[in-house]
């Protein structure tokens, strides 16, 4: 098991051309804590994840995984330090089987490097960690099936499975329940909670039930600015958040 690690953003800003997408975002989570990031579309949530995970270079501010700074590192270097991320649109290996998808995701953490002398794809069973993962995600009966032929919900489950297969201590989840029906979302949220119990998790999510079910703290990002970061109850009562979400509508009064 890898050591517990926290995740920290210090003064992170980012701009595409002239449009400022993130301005001076500071977020800190202690190891094992779950932080939900909410906000309207185009608030910069995905950009923040892209900066942390190495998709975009960090130009202003710093991101620290435990004590290690992630500035200037490429995605695979960051992953090796113990940070795994999922994607809003499932990025799975469609021609490989479900089991092979998980096996590929777990290779590095099992100490396997770019070796071409061991036969690995013919091993009958996955190791225990992956088998339990398959079990929890209800993918065991479909493990030999090509991932491309899975239903949408199963692909989202596989996406989550691949993110967790490497047993990374810090997990970034980008809208894991996107496109799922009400019933599927509730079930999926409980599985996420069970599988990420001892990990530091940052999760971008729109569904408020999922947010309040999983989050120890909630960060509200609007127009690239962090307007609140507090426990779920305080955020619910925060007038600025209501304004950002509903506009200046007070129930009865029609403008």
């Amino acid at each position: 098991m890898k050591p517990h690690l926290g995740l920290r953003c210090i003064g992170v800003s980012h701009a595409f051309g002239e449009t400022q997408v993130l301005s001076d975002v500071n977020l800190v989570t202690i190891p094992g804590e779950t932080l939900a990031i909410i906000g309207p579309n185009g608030a910069g949530k995905s950009t923040l994840f892209n900066l942390i995970s190495g998709a975009h270079p960090i130009r202003v501010g710093e991101v620290r995984l435990g004590q290690q700074s992630l500035v200037g590192l490429s995605p695979f270097e960051i992953n090796r330090l113990g940070l795994a991320r999922s994607f809003q649109v499932s990025r799975i290996f469609s021609s490989l089987s479900v089991a092979e998808n998980l096996r590929t995701a777990a290779l590095w953490s099992r100490g396997v490097r770019y070796n071409f002398w061991h036969r690995v794809r013919d091993e009958a069973t996955l190791d225990p960690h992956l088998t339990t993962l398959l079990e929890t995600l209800r993918l065991t009966p479909k493990q030999a099936q090509p991932a491309g032929t899975l239903s949408y919900a199963d692909q989202r489950a596989l996406e989550l499975g691949m993110t967790l297969a490497g047993d990374a201590p810090v997990i970034l989840l980008d809208e894991p329940t996107a496109g799922m029906s009400r019933s599927e979302t509730a079930l999926f949220a409980s599985r996420i909670k069970q599988l990420t119990a001892d990990k530091t998790v940052w999760i971008i999510e729109h569904d408020m039930d999922v947010v309040f079910a999983l989050a120890d703290r909630i960060a509200v990002l609007v127009g690239g600015v962090l307007i609140a970061c507090d426990t779920p109850d305080n955020v619910r009562r925060n007038p600025q958040v209501q304004m950002a979400y509903l506009g200046a509508w007070q129930g009865e009064a029609a403008p």
Binding site: N79, S95, H118, P146, G166
Partner: protein, 433 residues
Amino acid sequence: MNTPPIQARYGAMFWCLFALILVALPLPFPGAYALSLLSQMGIAILACLSYQLLLGQGGLLSFGHAIFTGSGGYVVVHALVLATEGAHTWSAAWLVLLPVMGGLGAATLAALLGWLSTGRASTPFAMITLGLGELVWAASFMVPEVFGGEAGISVNRLMTQAVGPFSLGPQIQLYGLIAMYLLGGAWLLIAFTRTPLGLLLNASRDDATRVAYLGFNPRVVRYAAFITAGFFAGVAGGLSALNFEFISSDVFSLQRSGAYLLFTFIGGSSLFYGPVIGGVLMVAGLVWLSELTPGWLLYLGLLFVIVVMFVPGGLSGGVTRWWQIRVREGWWFVVRAGLGVCAALPPTLGTIMLIEMLYHHALVRDGGVATTMVRLGVSLDVAQAANWWLFICCTPVLFWLCRRAWAGLGLLGDQGSQTAPSAAARPDQGGQL
């Protein structure tokens, strides 16, 4: 999404059968010409297997594969020149290892050029390999001492000391060597796909970005595959140099690289059967067909375009797909498929006759050839307008009938081109295999 089936398992039984076939093949075809064709097919299959590693397994479209088959050949030729020049001539035993030296030479070149070209996949990779291919081809004319320029370099296998009966002189012994290398090469290449690097290569083909977020650098994965493919291409090139005892700068030409691409793609996505079909078709097309008809390149071009448009997984992919349908729909499907093929024969023959008449007409116009030609057992006078009209009218009608028959037999499937919402939204899918 028509994802290819999980790789078929290639167990010990399979390899014994394959070895048996390789041994048994020359028996029914004893003639020297047949043996030379078989030898060339063996070499072509190995080259297609190495190309399949890039295109099929890695989704990497290379236009410069001839760099490695060519360099492998040159290493072997120069080694042979050294072996037979010096006072102490090498024994034939060394010859057996020459192709491996060719492979190592090509792999070194792949290592030098590989990091450059594997920065990105699909179109940029294709463009860099095209540029490198042209570069090496043009450079090979610069240095006649090494590459022999137009005239090329010829060597003689016989100049080595025989070890008992074994001297690699007679063609049958060379065929044996090629069969051994093909068996070993195929086993190693297919074994490669079962290793972590093989798994990562398939993963990089499907989604290279995701591989980067799982701790591996997709560029290193492509680079390793590039070198491995270069090695086996070098072995094939070495064998080819041994087989022809001659090599010239022409081995680096774009046509040669194009041929590997063309036939491996036609062969199709299946890990083993694709390259086998591709290799056999390559020799059949480039050697045998080209002696039969002047229009051989047109036929190959047509076949390639038809496969690209209508049979996405190549011939082996198509057969696998029809086999899956057969498993699902039972023998009735085989009957329908058979009827479909019969319906397709007349229009195909009509087209072939039309093309042959055109080519013969061209020959007549260039002078020195009688106007009657004999093709497919039919003798035809090209000067007769009636013949032309006969075929020009009949063939489209036959095509229309065949299409109706295929529709009736339900073989068309969803061939209609759906109006895709927009081009920009579609991520670039790289190799479709």
